[in-house]
Symmetry: D2
Subunit: 325 residues, 4 copies
């Protein structure tokens, strides 16, 4: 079976930030975004925000738009990071808000069931802190774990993936790294909680994404992944492969070597670019990676790695990826 590609549907939305408050383009509904996603070569799945953005839409209406674009749903991302949750969803100081977060995500569970998606994606971007002395770290972390654990135990038929990130919008996010997230998952102790590993978040957090993937796989918790690129100091969500192609190749090599066969997804924010062109360019690079994995001299690479011989290992890898060497 050939490699499947996917994208977060927000790839095809427009964006605001604290400066361009009038947005980087005209608002689009989720339906508009799906129709753009359908124009990308070889995209087969999307991750949908819930509630659906840009209007009131039924699941059936969304399904119809997906069908006409030959797309299916891999995951649902409940919007647990909007105004109501500005001081946290799982960790909000107000128990009423924590409850509302639980309800919102529980609704999202039904959307996952409707679409036959693989997982509920938890991205607790507002759960954390900004200042020294602001929070009781022990209590905050306990709430971070309790919120996930309760959802996972109430919905044993579904998978929950946590997408960690060092920061933004909070100055420090609770689920900040692969290791921190695995610690939580081990403590929660349920089989249906895993990691959605975002290449850019790992890179930005000072991790080697290939190492992060290896660790999550060691624990049997790599439930999903997505890619993009950045300059290591912020979650720029640039087009995959345009800045760090070699580390992206190493990341996919770890997945490949471990027989990980999930979807290769995009999590890009083309603020100023044509979103279809940005997605096509990334998918073209991913196809190059896929071909490179086929021609990589695995035995020679394994021997070089056994010796920690960086120059030899890189020569093998660069030759496979770039061809022209």
């Amino acid at each position: 079976m050939s490699q499947r590609f996917g994208a977060g549907i927000w790839h095809f939305a427009t964006y605001v930030d604290r400066y361009a408050t009038d947005g980087y383009g005209d608002p689009r509904s989720v339906i508009d975004a799906i129709d753009l996603a359908g124009q990308v070569n070889d995209l087969s799945v999307v991750d949908l925000n819930y509630p659906f953005f840009g209007g009131e839409f039924t699941n059936d209406q969304i399904k119809e738009a997906l069908d006409r674009n030959k797309l299916s749903v891999i995951g649902i991302t409940p919007e647990m990071y909007t105004r109501e949750f500005a001081k946290g969803a799982f960790t909000n100081p107000d128990p009423g808000v924590r409850r509302r977060a639980h309800e919102l995500i529980t609704e999202a569970c039904d959307v996952v069931r409707y679409f036959g998606a693989e997982y509920v994606k938890l991205w607790p971007g507002q759960d954390g802190w900004d200042y020294p002395f602001q929070v009781d770290h022990h209590a905050l972390w306990q709430n971070s774990m309790d919120g996930v654990g309760r959802l996972a135990s109430e919905n044993p038929d579904l998978r929950f993936v946590i997408e960690y990130k060092p920061r933004e919008p909070r100055v420090h996010m609770s689920y900040s790294s692969v290791a921190r997230t695995l610690l939580a998952i081990e403590k929660i102790g349920l089989p249906n909680v895993g990691i959605l590993l975002d290449f850019g978040h790992a890179l930005y957090g000072g991790e080697s994404p290939a190492d992060s993937a290896a660790l999550a796989i060691d624990y049997g918790r790599l439930f999903g992944m997505d890619v993009n690129d950045n300059f290591r100091s912020w979650d720029d969500d640039l087009v995959a492969g345009t800045v760090h192609p070699i580390e992206l190749f190493e990341f996919f090599h770890v997945l490949h070597k471990n027989g990980w066969e999930g979807v290769w997804q995009l999590d890009q924010f083309p603020f100023r670019e044509d979103s279809v062109a940005a997605a096509n360019h990334a998918v073209d690079f991913l196809k190059t990676v896929s071909r490179a994995l086929d021609v990589l001299d695995e035995d020679a690479l394994a021997e070089a790695q056994a010796n920690h011989d960086a120059v030899t290992a890189l020569r093998i890898a660069q030759k496979a990826l770039f061809g022209s060497w």
Copy 2:
């Protein structure tokens, strides 16, 4: 004369970002913001965005709100970073957009004149690039300088201040550092262009803000300043003094030693905090700094600095700032 304090009026607005697209609070008009600014202890000036946000207001209406809050205007910040300018104001690839940026800022000049403010503040946050190979760096930089130079030569009665920052919203901003901005100002060669030095931007750019201030003063170009705090890796715009009090004190020491007598301004974004409380807390710290400057043993410090004796210099400075030592 006692020290005057000021704030960017956006300190009292609410914010959006790419996740909390519904905003971190109900929208406020500039009038609402001015009324909040009036509640801060000892605030006497504000910097106003132009166009005025949250409605259609005449200069007279704004003036009335300022008067009832005993506030005057230090500068006007034209919004040259909104949707129209997403690919740059001075450096936009479209000459029509560059012209529109020029017109907008020219309008802002008249607002400066109306309010008798000290300067037009140029913050070209969208002028720069995101990707390798995206731009011709020579041409981009030339446009960055030409845009400022034209304004300054057309309006010799006004001062223009450039507020540099390493990045955000662009991944790389053209006016990225104190030295880069001084290079441009020297090339432009006009007396009415200077720097608005944001403490947090310097910190975040890996500069020592005290050194940045000293350099701008050496060139006679320190026309304004504002303060806040961050964790050195992003422009967090946190409350001044809450993370890096010693470097903030060193920054003010350089201003004081050089007889720089301008307003001490706040550029904070209290996303999740009460904006009046956040301003009051910062002003209280600034007053502590002001008192510390009065008691600092300048001779002993100068001697320690002449020897590059860090431990002695810090003992003197920390004692003055923190008292309890």
Copy 3:
């Protein structure tokens, strides 16, 4: 009992780096260093490198020097990061070198027993990688854990502490963060393995050191700590409290609140400073912190933290620390 203070004995050595290969001062033996440590006010314990540097010394000779300076030993740091271990100690590709690392640390165990110290300190600074594709991450991490586990199981009478750090001298260190280290400790599953939390390493790794301490305490694994300061982007090992006093106070507050009663140690590298003056300045700050903990309004702080009210919490904390507010 009053607070005890300590220091790594290397604080009183001289240093080389890749540029000043002739060193930042005349070489000193460990005996010289102990005699300098004895001049610091209120220092009662030291951590000793093993083998002892600067000559051939017996345990008895070291003990005599310690006794005349009224110092005792808190830990022994085997030098598992010198030339022989340049490509790793626990993770070296050569099994013979891994064995030699084991032997060296086993010798250090006997030195711990001789001095009645609290722990063997493991700082695997060469265990990691430099380049993409250089290593098999799964295998490397397994070796990282196996090396520690074997020592801990062979020496059940002793405690082993792992001092994590993001990098240096390796570009990426295996034991890179508090969460990663706790994952390993949980997997190793022995009661005598814990964390030595270096404030600067946590800061430099983008952690909030107070949060790191809280997490290690949650797992019952905070076996030791040391402090210093830096600019968040490298392990500068500057004098504690000179750059980030508020976060240092928060770190100690978490220890205090949890009844953690160990030694407050210094891990500073005064390359260009008088080492006794640098230690005294740091200890003076730590005493300020200790007094601040006594006057901190814990109830009011707990209430502010329960509300995630940063401004109120900081006002309480800054007032306690700085007095002059």
Copy 4:
């Protein structure tokens, strides 16, 4: 004429750091290093440290070693960053040390003349500061400029190049960025002072190296360059092209477009690698870059850049560099 390649001779030395104080290999003399450099494919020039390391050697002895390896000298790097200069060379608080730095560099001038080299390379790695409040920034910067200016005016027959870097070994270096260095050069006002642009230093300083090159060329001050790679947060001096191949290509594209025809040099520190293999791997990548420049569609790229069209520009560039697209 085909592209000439060069290397700092330290590429072929061994190193120490503050942990592996016994060095990452047996010491080598400069003669040993030259003989290793001679084994690299297509290396034609070297930059030599002065004094020559690893023994007492005459210029004639060095020349003989160079001749037998078919190497010539591009520049001389006086060691103004060793113990004597630990608190600065140009900026040392002791005028006697400043004088000694001047004398050392003046001696190096004669070595440049002897070898017919292109420049004296100034790398003032100890000139700067470590702590807040440690120095008078104005005075320090003035000394930084005076030291260079005096040398340049006393030796009008020679060129002096300043190699800037953000930090290391000082926590902050005075010559920290391309713009700061150009400011100094403009102030010094002599024709024989320029920049040696190290790709890795620019990258690590948050610059886009291509933009840095363009700026230095605009001022007519790009007198030399060298390359390597790193992870953006430290001067790792890794093998060129192994981490950031696309930005390296962009850097060379700017040189090429501007008709800059100097030597492409390596500044790598292969701590744990075979130094000949590390150099060969880098040179192979540079040859790939050279071929890519030949096939790059310059017109199409220029058009994409005129529109700031990142996706199109990158597609053109990546295709030229990687072939397999």
